[in-house]
């Protein structure tokens, strides 16, 4: 009700102040993100004042007569107006981390289960770009760990190809012990450092 009153006042003020014109009506709105994150947009209507919108479903409308109104849409309105558009948004880039047994390119039992979720996620994307980056802990020399980490990445790549992901969409690289997740001294066995990151876009 308050919003309606504001709109009426704003509409009257604008109608008195400016000469009538005819434009395509426009709507700008902030939509809450997947994790409930609410962003910010700044709308500058031509010849008007800039308006910062930073609440969920907060909106600005430019009406056919060129006047501007600020308010809020409902979730239902956004779904009704933008349902087909929102449904066409590609999947968000995602990162998964899987862990390995010491000195091997074999996943831990927990990570084997996790891998099934990764594959399910990949299959939901029509054309995934996948980068697999292998890492090791600091046990052993640089060259040994470069090879081990690449072997881990390659093993994951082959597993994904075996599950039906096209080979040309997956790149594999090894970073050895150059990028420890948990910083340690050299030659320390650390399970959290024996991992691959799978980045999917």
């Amino acid at each position: 009700m308050k919003f309606l009153a504001l709109v009426l006042v704003a509409g009257l003020a604008a109608a008195c102040a400016s000469t009538p014109r005819h434009v395509a009506p426009e709507t700008f709105a902030v939509v809450p993100g997947a994790g409930g994150h609410v962003g910010t947009i700044v709308v500058h209507p031509e010849g008007g004042h800039e308006h910062v919108i930073h609440e969920a479903y907060g909106a600005e409308r430019i009406k056919a007569d060129g006047t501007v109104e600020d308010g809020k849409l409902t979730e239902a309105q956004v779904k009704a107006d933008f349902g087909a558009t929102l449904a066409a948004l590609p999947g968000r880039p995602a990162t998964f981390t899987l862990y390995f047994l010491e000195g091997k390119d074999e996943l831990t039992p927990d990570s084997k289960v996790e891998m099934d979720k990764v594959i399910a996620e990949l299959r939901r994307r029509p054309l995934p770009d996948i980068v697999v980056i292998g890492h090791s802990d600091s046990v052993g020399g640089l060259s040994y760990n470069d090879k081990l980490s690449l072997a881990r990445a390659e093993r994951m790549r082959e597993m994904m190809i075996g599950m039906g992901i096209p080979a040309e969409r997956i790149q594999a690289a090894g970073r050895g012990k150059r990028e420890l997740l948990v910083p340690t001294e050299d030659n320390v066995s650390e399970a959290r450092n024996r991992r691959v990151e799978i980045n999917v876009r």
Partner: protein
């Protein structure tokens, strides 16, 4: 040997799925969707690469979703015309510029790395306004006149 591995890794990262001029990839394409590139009209199947200055045009049954190189996501709904007026992105510094132009129809977007680095580096123009994006998810409609 070590240097060889580094070189291999660098090459692998330097040559991703995108060629130099490509700014994004069509990831979702439903119904009638075309890319207007200069005087050419191209089909826009899943996997089609987009360049700066391309215009995405959808029919009454069309919708399309694009992933840009900075990880921003943009989709357009039916009866929409969306032009990529400007796009640049440096994957090292995350500096860039994205100016989209929704001439008609509906758009939904989730901003990416360049907006995280520099708020309002992504802008959406419409016939009557210009909108700066500070992040992250938003919708825009330009209704029929």
């Amino acid at each position: 040997m070590r240097n060889t591995w580094i070189a291999v890794a660098l090459v692998a990262f330097a040559v991703p799925a995108f060629a130099a001029d490509n700014v994004g990839l069509v990831k979702v394409s439903k119904g009638s969707v075309q890319i207007q590139r200069g005087a050419e009209k191209l089909p826009a199947p899943v996997g089609a690469a987009l360049q700066a200055k391309d215009v995405i045009v959808t029919g009454a049954d069309g919708s399309a979703g694009v992933t840009f190189t900075d990880n921003s996501l943009v989709s357009v709904g039916p009866n929409s015309v969306f032009a990529i007026d400007k796009y640049s992105f440096d994957s090292t510094t995350h500096q860039g510029e994205f100016e989209g132009n929704l001439r008609q129809g509906r758009l939904a977007a989730i901003s990416g790395k360049m907006v995280k680095q520099t708020p309002e580096s992504m802008k959406i123009r419409t016939p009557s306004a210009i909108m700066g994006v500070r992040g992250t998810e938003f919708v825009v409609e330009v209704a029929q006149n």
